[in-house]
């Protein structure tokens, strides 16, 4: 499952600046997934749509095995968002420091002393932190507000800073890709490049039904790309691949952990934005049980996915969700389990095959 994930996570793609991620997905889809330029479309906000037709070979095989629906097959959209949380430059001070605002929900406690890149030119910078020696114990008990923070790009004046950066430049975390521990990976933006990687991998498969893949934008700003996607694709069923919030630290009580890394894919039941289609939820859990795959549901109503918007679009759309638990979500060092990702992928493929078989009709 690590295929594509490393490259995708390393790319910058702060909400509304998803270009580099979109270009990578387009070229990979053409090179590896057997789709052509005509199968792709980018909408006005930047969401990328790729239609992959059913594979005749897979259709034939499914038919032969009696695993293809007699009647119509529902129109399926699979969605994952390309954007990641980050910042935007709001002010350049006379002394060369940059002030910034958040793009997406970032915990102000995880950004101090972090390396970042500013703008398309990827100018390195660091989010400064007043030295411990200059603080009191009371100072250190408070998490500073974003408006008190600043980015140091090593410029000594506004003019020098403006040689390389401009107001409105995006700011993205630096974070390398590390495999560690017992099958864990660390990178920035596993939320939701994991979903993008799953879609690319699925796109490579020979599937017995047509699938429309929507790589959405601005999810972190309020699932804003999903509006256009649901409207223009108008699917019967949509499934969203996501990174799920996770607080499974030993210091967090069981009712607040939300999800647990390594406990299997998270199947969407209820979250902060959607109540997932009961039939599709049961189909997913049934498929997982049948295949012997572990699975979990969120144990706290928290977080949300593009499904919240998709579900209430048009006359209403049936939504489902497969996520993996992501530790330190919305920080530069997000962590997920390789096994969870592998199992999520197996489940996703079973789900598509089940739809082709008419199991959701």
């Amino acid at each position: 499952m690590l295929e594509y994930l490393e490259e995708l996570c390393l790319l910058p793609g702060v909400s509304s600046f998803e270009g580099p991620v979109r270009e990578f997905i387009k070229s990979t889809a053409m090179e590896d997934c057997g789709v052509s330029e005509e199968d792709m479309r980018t909408d006005i906000m930047g969401t990328l749509y790729i239609v992959k037709k059913a594979s005749p070979k897979a259709v034939k095989a499914a038919k032969k095995a009696g695993r293809l629906a007699e009647g119509s097959i529902p129109k399926l959209m699979i969605a994952a968002h390309m954007d990641e949380i980050g910042f935007i430059v709001t002010h350049i001070e006379d002394n060369g420091y940059l002030r910034f605002a958040c793009m997406g929900g970032i915990d102000k406690r995880v950004v101090l002393g972090r390396k970042v890149y500013v703008g398309q030119a990827m100018v390195p910078g660091v989010i400064g932190l007043k030295a411990i020696h200059l603080t009191t114990k009371e100072d250190r008990e408070v998490a500073p507000d974003f408006k008190e923070m600043y980015i140091d790009i090593g410029a000594s004046s506004r003019e020098e800073a403006m040689e390389n950066v401009a107001l409105g430049d995006e700011v993205v975390f630096h974070s390398d890709f590390v495999e560690f521990g017992e099958g864990r990976v660390k990178a920035k933006a596993i939320d939701d490049r994991f979903g993008c990687a799953m879609m690319l991998k699925l796109m490579k498969e020979e599937l017995p039904m047509d699938v429309t893949y929507a790589f959405t934008v601005q999810e972190e700003l309020g699932t804003r790309g999903a509006y256009g996607a649901a409207y223009s694709v108008a699917p019967d069923i949509a499934i969203v691949f996501e990174g799920a919030s996770c607080s499974d630290l030993p210091t967090v009580s069981a009712d607040n952990k939300i999800t647990v890394v390594g406990a299997g894919p998270v199947i969407g039941l209820v979250d902060g934005g959607a109540i997932y289609d009961r039939g599709l939820f049961e189909l997913l859990t049934g498929l997982a049980d049948e295949a012997g795959l572990p699975w979990q549901v969120k144990q706290k109503i928290a977080g949300g996915t593009d499904a919240s918007t998709i579900q209430r679009s048009l006359e209403g759309i049936r939504v489902a969700n497969i996520s993996v638990a992501v530790r330190n979500i919305h920080s530069a060092s997000t962590i997920a389990s390789e096994e969870d990702m592998d199992n999520a992928y197996r489940l996703a493929k079973l789900f598509v095959e089940a739809l082709a078989e008419g199991k959701a009709n």
Partner: protein, 349 residues
């Protein structure tokens, strides 16, 4: 020497206080080409000596510490690690922080941060006390206990990179940058005739109580000692009383009880001679550097402090200016060559 390459090698090495064995060899290797003798003592202090050739020569010691702040494993919990601190660590920068666990087989780790989703705004306004944080190494409890015993040191993991035109950003610039300035002074003094023997010293465990300076100054018994350490440079969140220097405006020298006036005069004269800008400030009493421990060693040693301005001290992303570092090295070398009339009269050199 190549300042940038050597600085990167020094800063990316991991040596929290008490565990300097990782870095002493590297320090000695950088210093060795410029000195007549070199050794690493049993406590892992690094000492390089330039001899002036005189019998019973007077001695100048120039030192910088080679340890870094870090963490230490104190227990295991569901495969996560509990930890304490080595040196002054600000809890506000810990959640989501990447670390290298310095077990026999090193482990990557991240200090866990609970998801913001569903957290109350009040709780997010508070920083998390260190005792409530855990390091995630992705291991089961059994493997964590076996592979990462209690007492294993932990180093912050952060990239070394160039910032703007003249700056670099890294962990451990406090105080490897000053150690490199000490090496640079040694390089500038190579093949130069000296009035006294010069000891270039990398001290251990400064961050936990100036320990290496205490031992080495006793052992070396210098007449004069210059301790080189970093000092607070201005940042936008500083009050006027917080900072004592500005980045890019040259090394800084404090005046006060920890600084022998004759030595300070010699340094000022050397700076004037070489047209090196020096930021003079006042430290009434304790300087918070190795000089504080050295001053009261044996019968008392004439000490001074030369500092390198640095931003965000004790974070894994400190910032210095490379021109300041070069000027610091030049100034220490110039003082070693010409310590000024007062010091020379005093010491009869």
């Amino acid at each position: 020497m190549n300042i940038l390459d050597d600085l990167e090698r020094l800063c990316t090495e991991t040596a929290p206080s008490g565990f300097e064995c990782n870095v002493s060899g590297l320090c000695a290797g950088i210093l060795e080409p410029f000195v007549d003798e070199i050794y690493v003592d049993p406590m892992y202090n690094v000492v390089g000596i330039r001899r002036c050739g005189r019998e019973n020569a007077r001695k100048l010691m120039i030192c910088a510490h080679i340890d870094e702040i870090g963490l230490i494993v104190t227990g295991h919990e569901e495969g996560f690690l509990r930890f304490g601190q080595l040196g002054g660590v600000d809890q506000r920068m810990l959640p989501g922080r990447e670390v290298t666990v310095l077990s026999k087989k090193r482990h990557f780790g991240v200090i866990g941060a609970a998801a913001p989703h569903g957290a109350s705004p009040e709780s997010m306004n508070k920083s998390i006390p260190m005792k409530d944080l855990r390091i995630d190494v992705g291991l089961s409890q059994k493997r964590a206990e076996r592979e990462i015993p209690v007492g294993t040191p932990v180093s912050f993991r952060s990239p070394f990179f160039e910032l703007g035109k003249d700056c670099v950003c890294s962990k451990s610039l406090d105080d490897r940058a000053c150690f490199l300035a000490v090496c640079r002074a040694a390089e500038l003094l190579k093949d130069r005739q000296l009035h006294w023997d010069v000891y270039f010293v990398g001290t251990i465990s400064e961050e936990v109580g100036l320990r290496g300076a205490t031992m080495t100054s006793f052992a070396i018994d210098p007449d004069v000692c210059i301790a080189s350490d970093v000092c607070q440079a201005w940042t936008p969140d500083c009050k006027p009383t917080d900072y004592i220097s500005k980045l890019g405006e040259g090394p800084r020298m404090p005046i006060g009880a920890n600084v022998a006036p004759a030595v300070a005069h010699g340094i000022t004269a050397a700076a004037a001679e070489k047209r090196i800008p020096v930021q003079i400030t006042v430290s009434p009493s304790r300087t918070g550097t190795d000089a504080w421990a050295v001053q009261t060693q044996r019968e008392g040693i004439a000490t001074a402090v030369l500092s390198l301005p640095l931003r965000y001290m004790h974070t894994p992303q400190e910032v210095i200016n490379l021109r300041d570092l070069e000027l610091l090295g030049e100034l220490m070398a110039e003082f070693a060559l010409e310590p000024g009339e007062e010091v020379r009269t005093c010491l009869n050199i």
